[in-house]
């Protein structure tokens, strides 16, 4: 227990990195996922095909592979750099690319299932008053679709919090990697340290679940 208290600033710092990874890749995934969903319901076969291909490749590849590809493939081989001298900043952004690329595929499918719950008549009415395809999607379909899938989007965010630990694979010092390091330093306090980190994740995810449940109920579209 002492070890946990002593290392508290370090632990909190690691969780702060976890939060940053979650928030940044969460926002990117949401936006990119909605764009992908729009592609998958668009009238253009090329866009539909590209969207389907992306989703099926990314959704069926293990996250670890994607993150390692981002670190080694993008970072080392293709020399994608976000900072010349700060290596940790580099791997931070590379892992965000990986997390967002992966999570957005799931966001896309959740949003698309939400789109399917919106009755066809809504789109017809929107087109009948002269809205273009994009306006129909943006003003009528997506607002209703997203409201119906807030709860599953909350689950994705919950999964994302825990998936950020995979960034450890390319050396991002988030909570999981920090925990492993602390094990090395405090071999006698493995269980307390483990419990401390586990509690940290629960503190992050539990309120999120409650919030998304409440939001889903409040924003539900009544038909």
């Amino acid at each position: 227990m002492e070890a946990v208290v002593d290392e508290l600033p370090v632990i909190l710092g690691a969780f702060w990195l976890t939060v940053k990874l979650t928030v940044v890749s969460g926002v990117i995934s949401l936006i990119w996922g909605i764009v992908l969903a729009a592609m998958r319901v668009s009238p253009l076969p090329v866009l539909r095909g590209a969207g389907a291909l992306y989703v099926n490749v990314l959704r069926n590849t293990p996250l670890t592979l994607i993150i390692v590809f981002c670190g080694l493939g993008l970072g080392t081989v293709m020399n994608v750099q976000f900072s010349r001298d700060d290596l940790s900043l580099n791997s931070f952004w590379l892992s965000i690319i990986g997390l967002s690329a992966y999570t957005s595929a799931f966001v896309c499918e959740v949003v698309r299932s939400g789109i399917n719950t919106v009755p066809l008549g809504q789109a017809e009415a929107a087109r009948a008053i002269g809205l273009t395809f994009l306006q129909t999607l943006r003003l009528v379909i997506l607002p209703q679709a997203v409201r119906t899938v807030i709860a599953p989007l909350g689950s994705l965010l919950n999964a994302l919090v825990k998936n950020t630990t995979v960034a450890a694979a390319i050396g991002v010092m988030e909570a999981a990697l920090r925990m492993k390091n602390l094990f090395d330093a405090h071999g006698d306090a493995i269980i307390p340290i483990f419990l401390g980190f586990a509690a940290g994740f629960v503190v992050l995810t539990l309120p999120m679940n409650l919030l998304s449940g409440r939001l889903a109920r409040r924003l539900a579209v009544v038909r």
Binding site: P119, G121, A125, L131, T132, V221
Partner: protein, 251 residues
């Protein structure tokens, strides 16, 4: 009254054919609707009435033939099609009000987003229209909080807000409880009196007699007979129409 559809009709369909898979839903349709004319389309279910209504703003595409609206052939897609649709109002059987928006927002969405009218102006006009259809007091509510009749009147206000050259009504009262049919028909009769060009697919024969300039009777995807309401209801010229009328007018 048929003089209205004289030299320059608002809508002209020529040789229009449409299939749903093996089903030939529209067969060689030729039809014109004059400016200010009220055309009521009746016929047994499955006769292609709704499809006829929906091809005019291209919610359904056609296989062959031409449709000319206000002197121009219907655009195939894109912004030109959206512009055309903004000039043709449509009222659906199932209302199709935007569920996530209030009644007033339903009415102002088109004007602000398509016509780029200012919000304030659109809301002022929207309230006038809601007043006209008798539901101004419901402006801040969501569609699900209104009765069917109120929702349909809101849908009519939404169509009117675009200042359309014509309004298509696709069985506007078929989904309503019987006691709410009249309030919607009253609004429609008012529009007809004010000179709105209308095409109405309906089973309401009372409305057809009262408000129509012309009755179009369809069966099996074809226009079987057309004429003034008095002609059609008192002395239909085809066996098919006589048969249909005998079935619906006896009760």
């Amino acid at each position: 009254m048929t003089e209205i559809s004289g030299s320059d009709p608002l809508v002209r369909l020529e040789g229009v054919n449409k299939h749903f898979g093996p089903l030939h839903v529209l067969r060689d349709i030729d039809l014109s609707v004059g400016r200010g004319e009220v055309v009521v389309v009746i016929g047994p279910s499955g006769s292609g009435k709704s499809t006829l209504c929906r091809v005019i703003n291209r919610l359904e595409t056609i296989d062959t033939g031409t449709i000319v609206f206000d002197g121009r052939e219907l655009p195939a897609e894109g912004r030109a099609l959206a512009r055309l649709r903004s000039e043709v109002g449509m009222v659906f059987q199932s209302f199709n009000l935007f569920s996530h928006k209030t009644i007033l927002e339903n009415v102002t969405l088109g004007p602000t987003r398509v016509r780029k009218v200012s919000r304030q102006q659109a809301e002022q006009r929207g309230m006038e229209l809601l007043e006209r259809v008798g539901i101004a007091s419901q402006a801040g509510k969501y569609p699900a909080q209104l009765s069917g009749g109120q929702q349909q009147r809101a849908a009519i206000a939404r169509a009117l807000a675009m200042d359309p050259k014509m309004i298509l009504f696709d069985e506007p009262t078929s989904a309503l409880d019987p006691e709410m049919v009249q309030e919607v028909l009253d609004v429609m009769t008012g529009l007809a009196k004010d000179g709105m060009t209308m095409m109405v697919v309906t089973h309401e024969m009372g409305f057809a007699r009262r408000a129509a300039n012309r009755i179009v009777f369809m069966a099996d995807g074809q226009i079987v007979e057309e004429g003034s309401p008095s002609e059609f209801f008192t002395q239909p010229s085809t066996e098919r129409a006589r048969d249909f009328l005998s079935k619906i007018l006896t009760h």
